[in-house]
């Protein structure tokens, strides 16, 4: 008897819960270094959403390597929105699990990237090895720290920035390949993720230069060793665009489309752009960008779409099995 009463109570409670629900939950599946950024963004968005609709919104975050996160979503992690390190990973979600349309990247401004970044160098205080540009990384005796592009999305940007420099400075793809081969010959440790490389460089004291995302370099500079490092901005680099997208099938199932879309649109507002700039990512909003210009020096940036023909092509050419990255270790012979 008592058990029936208890069951009835539970049933009423579960029925009543949605009725009271002025409370929505979103899951944002993101990549590794955006923890601090989205914590700040979520607080800002929750306040604004409350003001606009009177509803409470709680945004849960999941962080990890970009490729691993994409795989979790493909395998059934119910992300309302994804905010990953490269378009290729969201393409994979669209392609393999069909959770959003293939043309997702055209749905929001700036290729669905409300912020961007680039690849810079972090060197030890005083720059003892005199590193000023990509060409200095292939000099004998210079130890370079960068993660493995086969396991780290962030590392692919590093590789492509180096390749872009090689192609521009030396003229041909063959010369560019030779350049990156020399560069990776100077790499003593290939960590599996970008954070791992930062730790290897900053905490373990390995290497003379860390190739890193600008936001990660700024974070390392501020958090890990105030005054122990210097950021060096190379002559050219790559436009790193970490995109965002609503996962259609999931928001339609959860009934959270409106709030999920509002969340991503919020990222483009001046308030959010300010948070973005404070966290070391380059803002899109011109007014905010102007205010933070000192922190983000202007560099000539290669673009994946214009200079490399898009991510799918880039992935197949450089990072697939037997691709150029494998070739620089196997000495040109294909087959891993």
């Amino acid at each position: 008897m008592r058990r029936i009463a208890l069951a009835a109570c539970l049933m009423i409670a579960s029925l009543a819960a949605p009725a009271m629900a002025a409370r929505v939950e979103l899951l944002n599946v993101s990549y590794d270094p955006t923890r601090e950024l989205y914590k700040a963004v979520n607080t800002g968005f929750a306040a604004e959403w409350k003001k606009k609709t009177g509803d409470d919104v709680v945004i849960n975050q999941s962080h990890g390597g970009s490729g691993k996160q994409a795989r979790s979503v493909i395998d059934g992690l119910e992300a309302d929105v994804v905010t990953l390190a490269l378009a290729y990973d969201i393409d994979a979600i669209a392609d393999k699990a069909k959770l959003l349309p293939a043309a997702w990247q055209a749905r929001l401004p700036n290729n669905s990237t409300p912020y961007y970044s680039t690849i810079v160098f972090l060197v030890r205080k005083g720059n003892p090895k005199g590193i000023h540009d990509w060409g200095d990384l292939v000099k004998p005796g210079v130890k370079v720290i960068t993660p493995n592009p086969k396991t780290s999305g962030g590392a692919r940007w590093n590789f492509l920035a180096a390749w872009g420099y090689g192609q521009k400075a030396l003229g041909t793809p063959a010369a560019a390949q030779d350049f990156v081969k020399k560069l990776y010959a100077n790499v003593p440790v290939l960590d599996s993720g970008a954070r791992g490389s930062t730790v290897t460089f900053a905490e373990r004291g390995i290497g003379d230069v860390l190739i890193a995302w600008e936001n990660e370099a700024q974070l390392a500079d501020q958090e890990l060793g105030a005054g122990k490092f210097e950021i060096v901005v190379p002559s050219v680099s790559v436009l790193a665009e970490p995109p965002v997208a609503v996962i259609d099938k999931v928001v339609d199932k959860h009934g959270t489309r409106k709030v999920a879309e509002a969340y991503l649109s919020y990222l483009y507002t001046p308030a959010a752009q300010e948070i973005i700039a404070k966290n070391g990512y380059r803002p899109r909003d011109p007014a905010v960008a102007k205010r933070y210009a000192a922190r983000f020096p202007t560099i000539q940036l290669f673009q994946i779409d214009r200079n490399f023909g898009g991510w799918t092509k880039t992935q197949a050419r450089f990072f697939a099995d037997g691709g150029i990255f494998d070739q620089i270790y196997t000495g040109g012979a294909p087959g891993l």
């Binding site: 086969k150 396991t151 790499v187 440790v189 599996s192 099995d321 494998d326 270790y329 087959g335 891993l336």
Partner: protein, 309 residues
Amino acid sequence: MTIYMNEVAAGFASRITAVAPMPTSRQVWGVASSNPSRPRSIIPGFGLTMGITLFAVSVIVLIPLSAVFIKAAGMTGAQFAATALSRRALDAYKLSFGAAAAAAALNAVFGLVTAWVLVRYELPGKRIISALVDLPFALPTAVAGIALTALYAPNGWIGRWLAPQGITIAYTPLGVVIALVFVGLPFVVRTVEPVLADLGGDVEEAAATLGASRFQTFRRVVLPAIGPALLTGCALAFARAVGEYGSVIFIAGNMPFKSEIAPLLIIVQLEQYNVAGATAIAATMLVISFALLLVINLAQGWQRRRRSA
């Protein structure tokens, strides 16, 4: 003394059957089917427990593992070979299995000595040492990897003394072995310890009164008795080390052809959304591991037979 030793053997026979279930179960099945008038066992429920055993082994071990082979079977032979038998993969297997074997061998020595001390001597803080031995079980392996890397990196507490001598441990295959020794130690200690305790000091005393030297006592009396348990412990430590990822990945350096472990190649394949490629490497590792564990089990059986003969 022989009788006593047989009792000891019976005492840990259960542990050995747990590791080598196949021959024992086949034996039992054979008896059950060929001799229906067999006297009933004292403990009832063979049918039920055997059913549960088969169910558990299937659900927990066989079905997940067969999924690996089914996924890999979707590839053509050439695709399989290109991924699982490439030079880079072969180097990775060599490192994974070689380092695991080296770590198991080191653990055989250190684990045996540790177990010996814990069983044979009373010393202050013994309980604490005993608890410490288990820590590698409990610690998330990534934590172990980060801690070991911090110690052995050229600027770490230990690494900074070795670096001037030209010895680098972190980011080399040597670092891999160190990490695997760390995760494998409890297996050896915990399998040898109860057998050593069962053996008791009186056997050694008996050997001494019969004129055996200390070394002879160890070689002819103690070692044969604890041999199967030691082998089991090493096999467990080895098996664990082959598949270890979390602790190794931080200390390995992950350089292709040099310090890249096989589980990393599986992750690399997964990062490319190439599940078939990942399972191809996984299946190859499984086959090698199974073959090695089978050999170890056969060696145990041989050891046991030789001793009871």
